[in-house]
């Protein structure tokens, strides 16, 4: 093959990808982690500094909410989470992402604490394992420890009602099936 044909070849490959890209929607951002086991982490609890890892929750469905006091849309979501936690027993783990303990505590004091457990991740190490794209993000994990759903961006009443609650109801059904 003539070497002068190489640029044309590279260009053809590029065009092929661009053409396929045109048919796809980049706004849809499903996490590749869905259907995979929840990534492990070992992080200190915000108040007690005791280590916590997701394996301690094995057997129970739980929600992982990733938040930070510097994040504007977390504030908007937070009120909703506080209301949700009052009426629902599901475990919510708050992962305080790239934040300082003082600011995190001040925030929870001011806005209320919806979390069963809050862990701190000041360097954002766990965030990488969980493929965090931007704060806030919320993962829903079932009793087997499998990630079932991910919310990118703040939770809204609509998403809560139409996506989160039906999923939690499904978990309950699965729990009954597992017992039988």
């Amino acid at each position: 093959m003539k070497k002068q044909l190489i640029p044309l070849g590279i260009f053809a490959a590029l065009v092929a990808f661009l053409a396929i890209g045109l048919t796809l929607d980049p706004q849809k951002l499903p996490s590749p982690l869905i259907g995979k086991p929840a990534a492990e982490f070992d992080l200190p609890e915000l108040y007690t500094q005791e280590p916590f890892s997701p394996s301690q929750l094995q057997g129970k469905p739980w929600i992982l909410n990733i938040w930070a006091s510097w994040c504007v849309s977390c504030r908007q979501e937070h009120k909703l989470l506080v209301d949700f936690s009052k009426g629902n027993q599901t475990i919510i783990v708050g992962l305080n992402y790239k934040d300082t303990p003082d600011e995190a505590k001040a925030w929870l004091k001011e806005l209320g604490n919806p979390y069963t457990i809050t862990v701190e991740d000041p360097q954002g190490k766990a965030g990488i394992d969980w493929g965090v794209y931007g704060v806030p993000e919320t993962f829903v994990i079932d009793a087997r420890g499998i990630i079932r759903h991910k919310f990118t961006g703040p939770l809204t009443k609509k998403r809560l009602r139409e996506e989160l609650l039906p999923l939690l109801a499904e978990f309950e059904k699965e729990a009954i099936q597992d017992e039988n």
């Binding site: 044909l5 044309l8 260009f11 661009l18 890209g21 045109l22 504030r75």
Partner: protein
């Protein structure tokens, strides 16, 4: 009526583009001088009607003609006049029209400032530019007509995106487009040369001048965009490796390589095929950038309206323009290539190596930009590639680039000796090492290996450029030519930008704090006192204006007024940072959320040397423009490159400048 005239005028411009794209080219092949001579008037007609069409659109904005859909969507009566005018290119349709206008202007310039090219080559080149223009004008008329009317005329327009109501952004797109579209000239030149099957050295010099002007504007355009993002987006970053930013950086990198490659071709009559490939590549990347931005295949912070049908059009256009030119390249490239001897240690080698590094940089950025798209297309994953990737891969490429730059300045054509280079370069080397170690040790808050590295690279480039300017390869001081002055200045500009990047990245301090009325927060020797927030009403927005008094070592230094603006026609609040700028550091204050009646979240930043990033860009652009003022037919001195000269087919035309320069 005026919008219809504008629309019609655009169609007339398209007709001229058709004349330009066909008749002169037919003339070249049928040897018909009358047809060949049509090229210039056709280029002029195309420009005149395109300009008139654009003027009609501006007029529609200034008189608030909301019966025009594009005006209604992007302007309103409360918009200040200057932003009404700049709103003309504030969104998709108008910015494409501006693009087409600038292309017509470049075409005109290429037609009238090309005495050094043979008439046939010029006619072919203009025809190719005409073809590009046909594609763009069709794109506007078929998918993005800015003159489209509305059936129901609204009372009030929707207004321009407030982010764009800013003087920096009013001039950013025209600058960028002049740069982007200017690459079309080098591209048309490359294809014309391929078709002709002959590449004379003097022509390379002509193409270099056009490329340098386009490159200078592109440099300024990118810097303006970066500066705008810094003060307008409120989080104090100056580069985000966002797809749209990358889209402007890609052609810049290749244009930089192209300028140097054209220099070698003009001087030594080699690298022809490589030069031609770079010229095609630079314009291909401009088009690719347009595709990425306008088609919506990638998510970006730049929320342009995107539309898949536009994406299809640009992709087809890209395939035709680049595909055909690369195909011609594959057939004809070997005809124009000349081989001449040069050794590994020579100016040719160093310039070639830097060219390869620049292409590698381009490939790296391109890969990072479209990697999400490739994975998505293969159905593997949806993800984004962020700053950590780009920063990690660009650093190791920048190091050899910087080293070669210094070597390139002082090395001789054809063959050089390491010993001679060392004799010439020990002083800049020593000076650079001194700066690289002493500055972090004595002046910077902490010693960091990366700071040493960054400062070494910048001072190495700056010192070699300066020494070379003052002495060249002579023993005594010499009077520099404009070409050398410009070239040296541009490289020093690059060093200045590199210094800014190094120090800002390593030593910036960023604090998000809660400040109550009268509360103070300290960063280094600066204390920020929060004096509360007041409301004010301006033309077309309401603002919460904070007052922060800054003290330096206890005495008042300045007052900063960061704002949060609520534009009347929009619901999203906008952040307007308060900045105190000095050459050695910026203090940057942005208002966050209101927390209580008196307390606010405030973002405080100390950004050392951040100005240098943009200052360096200005020097680069200025250097480029100074370099091309050098006249070509200057006296020729013969001393160092006799071989190069004897190889020239026409030495009087080609070696316009003194001897010591690249």
């Amino acid at each position: 009526m005026i919008p219809e005239i504008g629309h019609f005028s655009l169609i007339v411009a398209l007709s001229f583009a058709f004349v330009l794209a066909t008749l002169p080219l037919i003339g070249v092949y049928k040897n018909n001088p009358a047809f060949i001579r049509l090229a210039k008037p056709a280029a002029f007609g195309q420009f005149a009607f395109m300009a008139f069409s654009f003027a009609c659109l501006i007029y529609a904005f200034t008189v608030n003609d909301f019966s025009v859909k594009y005006v209604a969507a992007n302007s309103n009566t409360q918009l200040p006049m200057i932003f009404k005018v700049s709103a003309t290119w504030g969104a998709h349709e108008g910015s494409l029209l501006l693009w087409a206008l600038i292309l017509a202007l470049w075409t005109l310039a290429a037609g009238f400032f090309s005495q050094s090219l043979p008439e046939n080559l010029r006619a072919t080149l203009l025809s190719i530019l005409g073809m590009v223009s046909i594609g763009f004008t069709f794109f506007i008329l078929l998918t993005s007509n800015p003159f489209e009317r509305l059936m129901e005329i609204p009372q009030e327009g929707r207004s321009l995106n407030p982010l764009l109501q800013d003087i920096g952004l009013a001039i950013h797109p025209p600058m960028l487009y002049v740069g982007y579209v200017g690459m079309a000239v080098a591209f048309a030149f490359a294809v014309a040369v391929l078709l002709r099957g002959e590449f004379k050295m003097a022509w390379a010099d002509w193409a270099r001048r056009f490329t340098v002007v386009a490159w200078a504007f592109l440099t300024l355009g990118i810097a303006l965009g970066s500066w705008w993002a810094y003060y307008e987006l409120g989080w104090g970053g100056w580069w985000f490796w966002d797809p749209v930013e990358n889209a402007s950086l890609l052609p810049w990198i290749i244009a930089t390589a192209l300028i140097h490659s054209l220099g070698v071709t003009a001087k030594r009559g080699i690298f022809q095929s490589w030069t031609i490939l770079l010229a095609i590549l630079a314009f291909a990347l401009s088009l690719l950038g347009t595709f990425l931005v306008r088609s919506g295949v990638l998510t970006s912070v730049h929320a342009f309206t995107s539309d898949p049908s536009r994406g299809v059009f640009i992709l087809v256009f890209l395939v035709i323009v680049v595909g055909v030119s690369l195909w011609i390249y594959s057939i004809k490239a070997h005809e124009i290539t000349k081989q001449k001897r040069f050794t590994f240690i020579s100016k040719e080698s160093f310039l070639l190596l830097n060219n390869v590094i620049l292409v590698a940089m381009m490939a790296t950025v391109l890969l990072g930009t479209i990697y999400p798209l490739i994975l998505d297309a293969l159905g593997l994953a949806k993800l984004s590639v962020g700053a950590p990737y780009f920063n990690t891969v660009m650093l190791p490429l920048t190091i050899p680039l910087a080293i070669m730059m210094g070597l390139g300045f002082f090395s001789q054509w054809i063959e050089d000796k390491p010993k001679r280079l060392l004799e010439k370069l020990w002083l800049p080397l020593f000076a650079s090492l001194l700066v690289a170690f002493l500055v972090p040790l004595l002046l910077l808050p902490e010693f960091s290996g990366l700071a040493v590295l960054g400062l070494f690279m910048s001072s190495w480039i700056a010192f070699t450029a300066l020494f070379w300017l003052l002495k060249g390869n002579h023993a005594k001081l010499v009077k520099p030519s404009m070409q050398n002055l410009g070239s040296s200045l541009a490289h020093i500009g690059f060093a200045v930008t590199l210094t800014g990047i190094t120090i800002t990245s390593l030593y910036s301090i960023e604090k998000d704090v809660r400040l109550d009325l009268g509360e103070r927060y300290q960063i280094n020797e600066y204390e920020f006192e929060f004096k509360g927030v007041s409301q004010k009403e301006v033309d077309n927005y309401l603002a919460s204006e904070g007052l922060i008094v800054v003290y330096q070592n206890g005495t008042e230094l300045t007052r900063l007024y960061p704002e949060k603006r609520m534009y009347l026609s929009q619901t999203m609040p906008m952040t307007e940072a308060g900045i105190d700028a000095q050459l050695s550091r910026d203090l940057f204050v942005a208002l966050g959320e209101r927390l209580t009646d008196t307390a606010w979240a405030v973002r405080l930043q100390y950004k050392p040397f951040v100005r240098w990033i943009w200052l360096g860009s200005i020097l680069m652009a200025l250097g480029g423009l100074i370099a091309i003022t050098q006249r070509r037919h200057a006296k020729v001195k013969v001393s160092q490159a006799p071989k190069a000269k004897s190889d020239n087919s026409n030495p009087a035309k080609t070696s316009g400048q003194g001897v010591a320069q690249a």
